[in-house]
């Protein structure tokens, strides 16, 4: 993300907040409540996004949805890039997922390979009734038959472009920017 030339900010902090609120409402509406829901953020930026969805649901439903986090490093199909990731992060799913609806949360849906890895990891923890996928940005270019159930915003991109989701907790500010990658 450091190596990219920003072209434009396509989502600002306020709009991002609204998108997350809408995602939270859609998740609760589609599941007719929160009793069977669990949220699992995919490291790194999926985790703060999942936490915010959890906060919103708490505000408008007065319900506590369990929150877990997933590090998919050990499930990747492209470990060659591992040298950019200093340490295998920890996966924390401190609750039962059997017969629950697991909502995976990530920042950007692109090739679908991260989601494939995340689903493989989830099923090692149990047998959820369903796995749903919530993403802030869907930028297209899928390489696997995967789609999102809840989308903040569809952003048509070329493969050369980079979509950078920034979150306060990691990047110091909220927003989504689009830019040109290296090469």
């Amino acid at each position: 993300m450091e190596l990219f030339k920003e072209k434009a900010e396509i989502v600002d902090a306020l709009e991002m907040r609204r998108m997350i609120t809408r995602l939270a409402h859609e998740i609760v509406e589609r599941n007719k409540g929160t009793s069977e829901l669990v949220l699992v953020g995919i490291r790194r930026r999926g985790v703060p996004l999942a936490r915010r969805i959890q906060d919103r649901i708490r505000e408008f439903e007065q319900a506590e949805v369990p929150l877990g986090m997933l590090d998919i490093t050990l499930y990747r199909d492209d470990l060659k890039t591992i040298s950019t990731q200093p340490v295998v992060g920890s996966t924390e799913i401190p609750f039962e997922i059997d017969d629950k609806v697991v909502v995976l949360v990530d920042d950007v849906l692109y090739t679908g390979r991260t989601v494939r890895a995340a689903m493989d990891e989830i099923v090692d923890f149990g047998r959820p009734r369903a796995i749903h996928l919530a993403v802030l940005i869907d930028r297209g270019h899928r390489e696997l038959p995967i789609r999102a159930d809840y989308v903040g915003k569809n952003v048509p991109t070329s493969r050369r472009e980079i979509v950078a989701v920034r979150v306060e907790e990691i990047d110091g500010r909220d927003g989504v920017a689009i830019g040109e990658g290296p090469e």
């Binding site: 990747r76 591992i82 149990g126």
Partner: protein, 317 residues
């Protein structure tokens, strides 16, 4: 660690490399708590476990670590193999490599055997104990166990008791503890201390009481009765009386002190029953942690190789 082909000893590792292994092992430990204790990370990788000396714990620990990461493993034992038919170490290893093995885990009675293999094989080599030289994964799991229980290694006072001279566990511990900033005090019969042991940067205590006094960790080494040690001590009973870790002696250590032992224990010799089973004993945690630490080592040495072998795909987003 990622740039290395082999793990031969803690003497070669930097402080940062040791910490990288310990941090990675934390994540591996979580996998061992899952309902399905297996991740697909090293699929397609083959590991050969070459044990030229008898071992149960270390061999099983490596085998489990390999299986938890989805590597395929094969075991070679010296008894009943081609080694007993006169084959040289180099030929044995070359034959194994010809079977397209990616990593060799070796335990050997001669110091330097893993280094020799490392120089002669394209495959990676992990030292699982070479003579009286090093046992790096045991050193790493001891450091990991200390850090998990006490939160740090730096600044701690660690007592190593017993047969320091013949102990590869002691040597790997010494290097690791010094690199992470712990102070080490050793104590054992003069015949079982290496000459000029002080030059390794450790304190030598004349009695167990002085060694244990104020210690944060007491690591009791195994009296290796199967080696030549029996002629170096007057009797096992005298050893137990003078150097065994008893409840009374442990009371001199800090109240939070950990009791460790690399196993297998000679109960009633180097460690009393009630100490081995006592509340300060983390001996079984060491065994659990051993699997996680070996997973971390295999992962860090092999992750890059795995991606070369598999279909290298563009980075996911």
């Amino acid at each position: 660690m990622r740039t290395r082909k082999d793990l031969l000893g803690l003497e070669d590792l930097t402080r940062e490399e040791i910490l990288e292994v310990l941090d990675t092992a934390e994540s591996m430990l979580e996998i061992l708590e899952r309902p399905i204790k297996k991740v697909p990370t090293l699929r397609g990788i083959t590991v050969a476990n070459l044990f030229f000396e008898p071992s149960t714990r270390t061999r099983v620990s490596f085998e489990l670590a390999e299986k938890r990461l989805s590597a395929d493993s094969v075991n070679f034992q010296s008894t009943g193999s081609s080694v007993s038919k006169g084959e040289t170490l180099k030929d044995t290893a070359r034959n194994i490599e010809a079977m397209r093995v990616d990593m060799v885990v070796i335990r050997h009675g001669s110091a330097g055997a893993p280094h020799f293999l490392g120089r002669n094989l394209q495959a990676g080599v992990i030292n699982a104990g070479d003579g009286a030289h090093e046992h790096p994964t045991q050193g790493l799991l001891d450091l990991f166990t200390v850090r998990r229980h006490l939160g740090r290694v730096e600044g701690l006072r660690v007592a190593l008791l017993g047969d320091i001279a013949h102990s590869r566990v002691a040597r790997s511990n010494l290097w690791g503890l010094r690199k992470l900033g712990a102070s080490v005090v050793v104590c054992g019969p003069a015949t079982l201390l290496p000459a000029e042991v002080e030059r390794l940067g450790v304190e030598v205590a004349p009695t167990v009481e002085e060694a244990v006094d104020g210690a944060d960790v007491v690591n009791v080494l195994r009296l290796q009765l199967e080696r030549q040690t029996s002629s170096l001590i007057p009797s096992i009973r005298e050893y137990a009386r003078l150097f065994g870790l008893t409840r009374e002696r442990l009371a001199l250590a800090k109240p939070t002190a950990l009791v460790m032992h690399p196993g297998p224990m000679n109960r009633g010799v180097e460690i009393a029953h009630d100490v081995a089973d006592g509340t300060r004993s983390v001996i079984l945690d060491q065994v659990t942690n051993g699997v996680a630490v070996r997973m971390a080592v295999l992962y860090l040495l092999l992750a890059e190789k795995r991606s070369e072998a598999g279909t290298a795909l563009e980075r996911t987003a």
